[in-house]
């Protein structure tokens, strides 16, 4: 009985505790369920938001980045010599020979030399980079580029140098208009079938190549050596990542092929008058080592069947027109014309080796050596043969009205060039860039010999590619890093031309001094020196 009583008492005492415990558990369960419900709700909301983000990123297939550069240049051209063009009235030379050249009595060419200043020239360059993923091992890269001088969207310039052509190969480095040109557009198909091979076709990343990126204050901007190739072209690259086998970081072997001139499409081929051949480019571009500190690059390629001009447009200077047509034009008007090469003038071989080193303390130094070899075929077009002048024949007519066709009324290209020798040219390019207060300081020097003939015409210096110069060039610049995406650059470039025709394979390079002294003829103005003081602001986004 007592036991039963104690049992009953224990049960009665325990009941509230149990009830209390059961109440606590219920409360906890209820709280947990509430929290689970809240978490489920949040997860559902996150999932919806993630769906939106995923949809957005799937449909936004192109990643866009870019940069904007505004630049001011002050140009001082020292001793610009313009030689009078051939005339149409006969001139008697000592010995009784008749000639159509415009000569002084002492036999020197009539010419005038002057100094020109362009106090300020403003340009704007906009670059929009595009990237898209096509598949796991296939991607698309492209770049749209606008490069113009302020207040000018005409798209052409008066022809006074080979840089004044508007043409395919220099569309990114020559100021034209406010159009966005496609500077590069290509795909990369990598690790084909699990191998180290890759294939890339399209408008090539062939500008701003090493070691020219340091003066641009950016990373490597193109594949080939910028000392030899800074030129927009369309082509194919087949590459192999050899470093995966050799252990040499970044070692890549590339075979590149492109076409620089299409002779038979768009040149009036149905008229049956085309004689120039297509120009094909091909060669090797090898990154021997690229480990973030040392960079070694070898280049060797050939341009086959170069014509006496790429396809391009220009405004014809009045002095180039027949006198009766030139005088009929109103002041300020120029005939705009499309030009294409009519004559195949020879082949060109190029090779080079470059080295750049980036020290841990930020110091960068580099050196590059380039060699070119022009191999003419002895033919010439209107402007000349390969690094040789056109042989001109006098055109006879009757200027006196006596019925005798014995007066020289003009000079025309004969179709042959004055010489067809193979010529070697070379160039050295060195520089250093060092950390400096608030940014970097850089010094560069390059020299090009008489017959130096690279494909760097798309380098966007306003007076022409400094690396194509047949003479000496020195550059100093200071970069102020305002923030990681914006910098100011002030600098000066000094060009000292020794020979004419820098950057052109057509026409014999003449000593600038000989042109100044009237001993040599130059179709285009011969410049002795240029000072280019510049300041630019660049921002990346």
């Amino acid at each position: 009985m007592q036991k039963i009583f104690y049992l009953i008492m224990a049960t009665l005492l325990a009941l509230p505790m149990t009830a209390f415990a059961m109440n606590q558990e219920d409360a906890m369960m209820s709280e947990l369920q509430k929290q689970i419900q809240e978490l489920s709700g949040e997860l559902e909301e996150l999932s919806d938001r993630l769906d939106d983000a995923e949809r957005h990123s799937t449909l936004d297939r192109i990643e866009l980045t870019g940069d904007l550069r505004v630049k001011a240049d002050s140009l001082h051209y020292n001793k610009v010599t313009v030689v009078e063009p051939p005339i149409t009235t006969p001139v008697a030379l000592p010995g009784g020979q008749m000639d159509g050249w415009n000569l002084n009595p002492d036999g020197t060419f009539k010419r005038h030399t002057s100094t020109l200043n362009n106090d300020v020239l403003y340009t704007t360059r906009l670059r929009l980079n595009m990237k898209a993923r096509i598949w796991d091992n296939v991607k698309f890269n492209g770049r749209l580029l606008m490069y113009k001088n302020w207040g000018d969207s005409s798209g052409t310039k008066v022809f006074d140098s080979w840089d004044s052509f508007t043409m395919d190969g220099t569309s990114s480095g020559n100021t034209t208009d406010d159009t966005l040109h496609v500077e590069r557009a290509f795909f990369d198909w990598s690790n084909i079938n699990g191998s180290n091979f890759y294939l890339s076709i399209g408008r090539r990343p062939s500008t701003y190549g090493p070691p020219t990126q340091y003066r641009e204050n950016e990373l490597r901007g193109g594949t080939p050596s910028g000392h030899l190739v800074n030129f927009n072209f369309d082509g194919i690259t087949a590459g192999y990542k050899l470093g995966e086998l050799t252990g040499w970081e970044g070692q890549t072997v590339r075979f590149c092929y492109g076409q620089g001139f299409e002779s038979e499409y768009g040149n009036g081929e149905l008229w049956g008058e085309i004689s120039a051949k297509d120009t094909h480019l091909g060669g090797f571009n090898i990154d021997v080592l690229n480990d973030g500190t040392n960079f070694i690059q070898l280049t060797a390629f050939r341009a086959q069947d170069i014509s006496d001009g790429f396809k391009g447009t220009m405004a014809i200077p009045s002095s180039f027109l027949p006198p009766d047509l030139g005088s009929a034009l109103l002041p300020g008007f120029n005939l705009e014309s499309r030009y294409f090469g009519t004559t195949t003038i020879g082949n060109l071989n190029l090779a080079g080796i470059g080295y750049a080193r980036e020290e841990d303390n930020g110091l960068v130094w580099f050196g590059s050596f380039g060699w070119t070899q022009t191999d003419p075929n002895g033919e010439s077009g209107m402007f000349g043969g390969m690094l040789s002048d056109a042989k001109l024949d006098p055109v006879l007519g009757d200027t006196t009205g006596d019925g005798n066709v014995d007066s020289i009324v003009g000079m025309i290209p004969s179709g042959s060039s004055m010489e067809d020798k193979t010529r070697d040219g070379y160039s050295v390019y060195i520089g250093l860039q060092t950390p400096a207060p608030f940014g970097k300081f850089g010094l560069e020097y390059n020299y090009g010999s008489k017959y130096w003939m690279p494909f760097t015409q798309a380098q966007d210096d306003v007076v022409g590619s400094k690396l194509a110069t047949r003479g000496h060039v020195g550059e100093a610049y200071y970069v102020i890093d305002i923030n990681p995406r914006m910098f100011l650059k002030v600098g000066a470039i000094y060009y000292d031309y020794e020979y004419t025709g820098s950057g052109s394979p057509v026409g014999k390079p003449k000593k600038v001094k000989d042109v100044q002294d009237g001993k040599a003829y130059s179709m285009l103005p011969a410049i002795d020196e240029i000072w280019d003081f510049n300041a630019s602001l660049t921002m990346r986004f």
Binding site: A72, S74, N117, D119, V120, N129, N141, F186, D188, S190, Y198, S200, R204, P205, Y208, E218, L219, R220, G221, G222, T223, T237, G239, K241, T252, R254, G292, T293, E358, E359, D360, F438, I480, D481, I482, N483, L488, V490, F533, A535, L537, R540
Partner: protein
């Protein structure tokens, strides 16, 4: 010409003043690369204990968050000084998915 020189000098002076206010110390990305190769790649290579990680694996902001919150197991970082970590962070930041990249084909 004089106008251009005055304008350039003004902009240069303004930039110097602006950068004095904004300049901050960063790590050395080249040292960071050496340290990363020596200390991190053993675990963060393909098939490694930490899984494949390259600078392109994350964005700049994501790398900064990892280093700010020290979101990494302590063992992996125990032999690295604060300066080392700063250098590694700078290397990863400078080569992150959204950082400027060299432009070549392939």
């Amino acid at each position: 010409m004089k106008k251009l020189i005055r304008t350039v000098l003004f902009i240069t002076l303004a930039a110097f003043i602006a950068t004095s206010a904004l300049a901050s110390e960063g790590g050395n990305p080249r040292k960071g690369k050496h340290l990363y190769k020596k200390n991190c790649k053993t675990c963060h290579a393909s098939g490694g204990e930490g899984g494949l990680v390259t600078p392109m694996t994350k964005t700049q902001a994501q790398w900064d968050r990892i280093f700010k919150k020290k979101k990494h197991n302590e063992d992996g970082w125990k032999n690295l000084s604060d300066k080392d970590l700063k250098d590694i962070q700078q290397f990863l930041f400078d080569h992150a998915a959204d950082s400027p990249q060299p432009q070549t084909c392939g």
